[in-house]
């Protein structure tokens, strides 16, 4: 597949592209229900930068007008810390959009952060290729001007 086609194919897929190790990480498929997709939008109310998974709490307004807090599962904050995560990076009050799937236990308002972005669609954090590519420096500078990490 030519490089351009690869990128185009990937752009629609803002998710973990599988790197299948010998020792499988815990199955997301065990924790989350593929028949219970969600799309959430609302302000961050709490951040838990913990392991084994960070949890971002956001408040949504339901159809009946009441509010509900959802917890969204992320990855290890250690990776982000080495890429410059700071306390002021994603503060409570910041509005985010999450798409993913609810936990199999539907009594919990928890979901995987399949794709977590700001309201303009940009990712809440950037990956790093470790190559020091110019585009990365530009992207980072642009984000810092917006007060993002």
């Amino acid at each position: 597949m030519r490089k351009n086609q690869t990128i185009l194919a990937l752009i629609g897929l803002a998710t973990v592209v599988t790197v299948v190790p010998l020792m499988a990480h815990h199955a997301f498929g065990a924790e989350f229900d593929r028949d219970a997709p969600i799309r959430l939008q609302g302000p961050v109310v709490r951040l838990e930068w913990v392991n084994p998974h960070a949890w971002i709490h956001l408040e949504i307004t339901k159809e009946d007008g009441t509010n509900e807090v959802w917890m969204v599962e992320g990855g290890t904050p250690n990776t982000l810390l080495r890429r410059g995560l700071r306390r002021d990076c994603l503060t409570p009050g910041t509005e985010i959009i999450v798409d993913g799937y609810q936990t199999k236990d539907h009594s919990l308002t928890r979901a995987n952060g399949r794709d977590v972005t700001f309201t303009d669609g940009t990712k809440i954090f950037l990956g790093s290729s470790g190559t020091g590519a110019p585009y990365e420096a530009e992207m980072l500078a642009a984000r810092q001007q917006q007060g993002r990490c």
């Binding site: 897929l13 020792m23 498929g29 599962e73 250690n78």
Partner: protein, 344 residues
Amino acid sequence: MIAMSGFSSDVKAQVQTQTDGQWVMPRTADGRPDLQGNWTNATITPIQRRRDQDAVYSLEEASRLEGGRAARTEALNQPSDPDRVAPPVGGDGSTGAAGGVGGYNYFWIDAGDRVAMFDGELRTSLIVDPADGRYPSRTDASRQRMAEASQFRRQFGQYDNPENRPLAERCIVSFGSNAGPPMLPNYFYNNNYTIVQTPDHIMIMTEMVHDVRIIRMGTPKPLPEHVKPWFGDSWGHWEGDTLVVETTNFSPTQLNRGQLSGATDNLKITERFTRADEYTLNYEFTVDDQETWTDTWSGEVPFTRLPGLVYEYACHEGNYAMFNVLSGARAQERREGGRQTPER
């Protein structure tokens, strides 16, 4: 972008004056090579080679692999559609670890950007012996042990009890063979280590689940047979400028897991640490258990300087996932009305 702001201070401290462009081995006060500081063994190179693959990549192949990973990162950094709807009912088609629900964003992953370069060679596998770069054959006895262990596990559904979950998911030890021995990358993230060195001890801390290996220097005083710590009992000595570590007395749970599944009490792992240059620690290992593998097997893994800190990985303390997995399995069983057949 690499966050250079947290660059390990001991790198600066250890830069030696270079005369005629020759790197000088930094040494501790007792004259030994200084292996201390933060290291990473993250790499694209897998543990085992594909069949009929050469031992080394050509420059073009390696560039293509590294470029592919960089391209993937670039692609997945692009903005998403802010008007996107929820993903499909029935799953989003993602496979492997993403589990059909799409896992989480790629920016959480840090699986390594580089093919492993060892002694100037771009390696296609971490295993170098057997010559085909693959695990050697197992003895019939070891296959029997593995079958018995498998039979034991089959009496349970994989979500029936916390004890049926992988050790890493239970936050008991690191992913795979991160802490080892042998110390291998997990191909996900946090493949980082801190080494502290004194005249009579080497301490190796693995970031994942804060596993600590304490290696005592000197003539081994064997532990009683029934004392079997996690990561085994390790003794080290110097051979010239190479630290040699021999480990025995592995815990039975460790011998029932991953690469070491089916191994016996006779398992002995030898590791060799040689500081190759300013930014590289050459790590070699040999796994020896004649009752399990028909031959010893060995690997070579470059550990490179970690440009950053190693952070706390307090796993159990924040393990919502364990609760979610177990409660989810119970919820699903209730929805399906009765006992769920074990997933295989």
